[in-house]
C-alpha cells in the first residue's frame, strides 16, 4: 500500500521529463537569430557570404534531435558554441555559486520568515504584529533591483564595507580561513538583497496559515492541557502551518537555477542565471538547452520529492492518497 503511494506518481513524472527533454531541444531553436549572427553582429570582423556559410556549417555539426537524445543517454550534454567546452563542465562551474547564493537566501529567509510569522500570528492584533505585517507588505512590493542598488550604493560605495562585485577577490592568495572570509564578504550584499526579497513572503504566508491553524480546536486542547506556550506554538500549531511553506520552499528551490539573474547581474555574481542570460544573448543553443533541461529536471525532482515530503510532514496527505 505504502510502496504503491511512492510508485504511483512516477509514470507522470517520467512522461513530463521526456516532454521537457524535447522542449529543451525545440524551444531554443525558435529564438530569432543564430549564434553566428549574434557572435559577429557587434564584431570588428566583417564576414563575407562565403565565410559566413563556412562558420555556420562548422557550428551546425552534430545537430539533430536524435543525436541530442543519444548524447543525453550517454550523459553527454554537448559542447557550448561560445566556449567550445563541455556543457556539464560549465554548469558545474557555475552551480556551486548559485547554490551558495540562492540556497543560502532560501534557507535563511525561510527559517527567519517562518519563526517571525509564527510569532506574529501568536501575537495577533498587537502592535508588533500590525507593524510587522505593514512593513512586510511594503517590503514585499520592493523589487530586488531596487533593494540591490540601494544596498550597493550605501554599503559598497558610500561606506565601503563590502565589495561591489564578484564572488571573491579574483586570484588573491589567501589562507583557507582568509578565503572563506573573502567569499563571505562578497556574498553579504547579494545574499542580503535576496533575503530581503524572499523573507516578507515567507513571513506573510506563515502568519496567514498560522492564524487559521490557531483557530483549530486541537490548539485549544493543547492550551487547556497547560502545555508551555512555545510547545503549543511550534509542536502543535506550527507543524500544521508548515505545509504551504514547504510548497513555497520547493518551488523556490526549483527556480534556483535562474531566479537570481537580477541579483547576479547587479553584483556581477557568477551563477547559472548569468550563464543562461549570456547564452541566450549569444544564441549559444547547446548551452541554452543544457541549462533549460537541467533547470526543468530540477523542477521535476523537487516536485517529486515534495510528494513524499508532504506525506511525512502531514500524514493526512498520505491517507488521502
Amino acid at each position: 500500500m505504502r510502496r504503491g503511494r511512492y510508485i504511483k506518481p512516477l509514470p507522470a513524472f517520467v512522461l513530463a521529463g521526456l516532454i521537457m527533454v524535447y522542449a529543451s531541444y525545440r524551444l531554443p531553436r525558435l529564438l530569432p537569430g543564430d549564434f553566428v549572427s549574434a557572435l559577429y553582429a557587434s564584431s570588428p570582423v566583417t564576414l563575407s557570404a562565403d565565410q559566413e556559410a563556412q562558420v555556420r556549417a562548422y557550428y551546425a555539426r552534430g545537430e539533430g534531435f536524435s543525436r541530442y537524445l543519444l548524447n543525453l543517454f550517454t550523459l553527454n550534454w554537448g559542447y557550448s558554441y561560445a566556449f567550445l567546452t563541455p556543457i556539464s563542465a560549465l554548469i558545474l562551474e557555475a552551480l556551486p555559486w548559485s547554490l551558495l547564493l540562492m540556497g543560502g537566501a532560501h534557507v535563511i529567509s525561510m527559517l527567519v520568515g517562518f519563526i517571525a510569522g509564527v510569532e506574529a500570528a501568536w501575537r495577533r492584533g498587537g502592535y508588533v504584529e500590525r507593524t510587522g505585517v505593514g512593513c512586510m507588505t511594503v517590503l514585499e512590493g520592493i523589487p530586488e533591483i531596487g533593494t540591490g542598488v540601494i544596498l550597493l550604493l550605501v554599503f559598497a560605495l558610500s561606506l565601503g564595507w563590502f565589495p561591489a562585485s564578484g564572488a571573491e577577490t579574483a586570484y588573491a592568495v589567501f589562507s583557507p580561513l582568509g578565503r572563506a572570509w573573502d567569499v563571505a564578504q562578497h556574498l553579504a550584499l547579494p545574499l542580503a538583497t535576496l533575503v530581503l526579497a524572499y523573507f516578507p513572503g515567507n513571513f506573510l504566508l506563515t502568519r496567514g496559515s498560522m492564524v487559521m491553524v490557531l483557530r483549530e480546536q486541537f490548539v485549544e486542547t493543547a492550551r487547556a492541557k497547560g502545555l508551555h506556550p512555545a510547545r503549543v506554538r511550534y509542536a502543535h500549531a506550527a507543524r500544521n502551518a508548515l505545509l504551504p511553506m514547504v510548497t513555497r520552499f520547493g518551488l523556490r528551490i526549483a527556480f534556483m537555477v535562474t531566479g537570481a539573474l537580477v541579483v547576479e547581474t547587479i553584483y556581477a555574481y557568477p551563477g547559472l542565471g548569468t550563464l543562461l542570460f549570456n547564452a541566450i544573448s549569444m544564441r549559444d543553443v547547446p548551452l541554452i538547452q543544457g541549462i533549460v533541461l537541467f533547470s526543468s529536471l530540477m523542477v521535476l525532482f523537487v516536485n517529486l520529492a515534495l510528494e513524499y515530503v508532504y506525506g511525512w510532514i502531514d500524514p493526512r496527505v498520505g491517507y488521502a492518497a
Binding site: A41, L152, A170, P270
Partner: protein, 530 residues
Amino acid sequence: MNRSVVKAACVFVFLAALIFSNLPGSMASQIREIRISDSKGDWGYPNPYRHYPRGPGYVRMSWVFDTLIWKDQNGYIPALAESWSFDADRLAFTFHLNPKARWHDGRPLMPEDVVFTLDYFKKHPYRWITVDHVSRSEAIGPHTVIIYLSRPYSPFLSDIGGTMPILPKHIWGSVEDPERYNDPKAFIGSGPYLFRDFNKAKGTYLYEAFTDYYQGRPKADRLIYLRSGKPLISLSTGQVDVANIKPEMAEQLKGKGMVIIKDERGWNKKLMINHRKFPFNDKRFRQALAYAVNRLEIIDKSQRGFAAPASFGLLSIDHDMYNPGTPTYSYDPAKARTLIEALGYRSGPDGRLIKDGQPLKVELLSSNITVAGESVADRDGEVIKKQLESIGIQVDLVNMEQATTDSKVKSWSFDLAVSGHGGVSGDARILNEMISSQYGAGSVNSARYDANPELNRLLEAQMLEMDQEKRKAIVFKIQEVYAEDLPAISLYYPDSMAAYNPGKGIVWFYTKGGISKGIPISQNKMSLIR
C-alpha cells in the same frame, strides 16, 4: 656607546640607500598587479581561434600573441618586426624580426614561424584578416621574412602586419582542428604576458609577466581581468585600476583622483535603411530622412551632450583620409517634406503624408547595442520617431533584444533600424565592409549597398591602391558618393572614455585608429611595456 650606535645606524642607512638606489629601474618600480574590469567578463579563451570575434576578445589575446607591427597613440610601431619595407615592383613586404623575440616556452621566434602562420591561416582561416592576397612568403636568413602579394592589397599593414597574431610552428604544426585545440600549449605566444587562467563562470582572466619578453620585462607582474558592471564603484573602491566609463562618471571619478582619457571618434551610431524597398530605395527619400533627423537634438536628449555629429561619409572626422568636403544634411524639415512630396506623397487631413490613400508608415527597430564590449541601451529611437512624425511620417517604434533586431536587419525584414559600429577611424577598408555586400554580406551593420556602379568601382580601386596619397584621393571620392547616396545615415560619435588609477604608475592611452582593426579600447599592451 650611544654615539657609536647612532653612527653605525647612519652608516647602515646610507649604505642601504646606496644599494637600493642602484637597483635596475624595472625591479625598483615593478608593479605587483593590474586589475581591469568590464561588464561582461567572458570573451573566450585568449588564442586566435578561441577568443570571441569582438574587441575585448582580441585585446585579451593580444597580451599573449604578438603581431609583426603594432600601434600606439601615434600610429604604427615595431613589434616582432624591428623594421619593414615595401618593394612596389615585386609587390613584396620585407620584415626584419627582432632577434631577441622568444616564445613563452623559451624557443626563439624564427621567420619560419611567420611563413607557417600565413600558410596555416590559409588552411584554417583567422577571420580577423584575409591572407587571400598573399601569394607566398619566404624566410631569408635568421631574422628576415619576405611576404609576396598576388595583387596589390592596401590594408596589408593594418591586417597582416598589425592584426595577424604569429603562431609557433612547433606547436600548431600538428593541430588539425584549431577551434577545439585546448591544450595549454595553445596559449604559448610571443607576447608580453603568459596566459594562466580563465574562469568562465566568474569571467576572470589571469596573466603573468613574460620576464624574457623581447621588448623588456612588462611593468606589472600580474594582469587580472574581472567582471564588474559598476565601474564607478569598482574604481572608487580600488577594486580595479582601469575600466571603460560612461561620460557622466568622469567628473566624479576625477574628484577621486582618477585620470580620465577620451578616445578619438572611432565608433558611429547610425540609422540603417532598407534601401531594397520603396520608398527607401529612392535616394531622394533617404536624403529626406537625413534632413528630417535633427542629430543635435538626439545628442542633446539621448546622449546628454556627450557625442559629436558624424560625417555622412561614414569615415571618422578624425581619420587621416576624412574628406572635409563630404556632402552634409543640416536639419531642415521643410526640405525633407518637399523631397518626399516629389515622390508623390501629399498631406492628409491629419497632416500625415499619404500616397494612393495609404499613409506613409515606417517601422523603426531599436535595441541595446554593444559598444567596446559594453551593452548600451538605445534612447535614440524615441527622438527619431518624434522627429519623423513631425514631418508627417507615421513611425512604429519597436524595441527588441539585440540579437532579434540584428536577425531582422540581416534578413531585410525592417524599414529603419538604429545601429552602430566601430572601426571608422581604422583602415579605410571599413568603407568596403560597411557599404558593399561583397565585403559585408555577413555583417548586420553593413548597408550591403551595390546599386551604384561608380561606388562599387571606387571601393575596389581603393583596395588595390598601394600609394597612400592616391588611395586617399579615391577614399575622398567614396565618401562623397556615399554621402550622396546615403544607403545608411551616420548619426553621431558617442564620447568613449576610460578612467584609470594613476597611483599604479601606468599611463593608459587610446590607440590611433583603434587597436588592430579599430577597437576603441584603452588597454593597449604598450602601456605596460614602455
